[in-house]
């Protein structure tokens, strides 16, 4: 599972690519309001395009799920069967 804080970004402005053990997250943050009739006292929030590459610790398989809630993106990737721990039954002889 990968979580990213993306406040103020519309889900449609995020592009997510999953390939092997790599997730590429790119998008753009557009700040809706541009002030015409006023002046800024503080301007700390960034604007523009971003791109992040995240390496996953193991292989995944199947369909990744992406959910966006309150400015936090959550990507859930099912682990590939070879990366899952397997329980081995011990037989007595």
């Amino acid at each position: 599972m990968v979580k990213a804080e993306l406040p103020g970004i519309e889900p449609g402005d995020v592009e997510l690519t999953v390939q092997d053990k790599t997730i590429v997250l790119r998008g753009e943050r557009r700040l809706a309001e541009t002030v015409q009739n006023g002046a800024y006292h503080r301007r700390e929030r960034g604007e523009g395009r971003f791109r992040r590459v995240v390496r996953l610790p193991g292989p995944t398989e199947g369909e990744p799920q992406a959910r966006f809630r309150d400015g936090v993106l959550t990507v859930t990737l099912p682990k590939a069967s070879e990366a899952r721990p397997r329980r081995v039954t011990v037989h007595s002889e």
């Binding site: 599972m1 979580k3 804080e5 993306l6 406040p7 103020g8 970004i9 519309e10 790119r26 943050r29 700040l31 309001e33 002030v35 009739n37 006023g38 002046a39 800024y40 006292h41 503080r42 301007r43 700390e44 929030r45 960034g46 604007e47 523009g48 395009r49 971003f50 791109r51 992040r52 610790p57 966006f68 809630r69 309150d70 400015g71 936090v72």
Partner: protein
Amino acid sequence: MSTTDIEARPKQKAEREEGTRPGAYFMPLVDIYETPDELVLVADMPGVPRENVQVHLDGDTLTVEGRPSAGEYEGLKPIHVEYGVGGFYRRFTLGETIDRAGIKAVVKNGVLTLHLPKAERARARRIEVQAA
């Protein structure tokens, strides 16, 4: 143009008095602008739902606070951590008198937008100079 205009910045811990709830607090990044009629404060509070945002105006002190939804990070075993998880807290001293009844707050996609209309007497007025 490069493909990256904005880089992730580490969150700054918020300075605040000891709360009754445990957990870390961070300073939300804000934009504040002023128009002739109002002050507008926009604060990034990712993970905070609308019902967990609190805004207090006490005299000229404005306090903005938000808690992320419970369970969002619960039970997760982190492999790699880049950002701290916790609430947001920040306090401002306003230089304007605000019309409290007209304050409007909107939360969308983890961003709080606060409209603080100036009280009538604080608005700039143009005074005609009469000839004697």
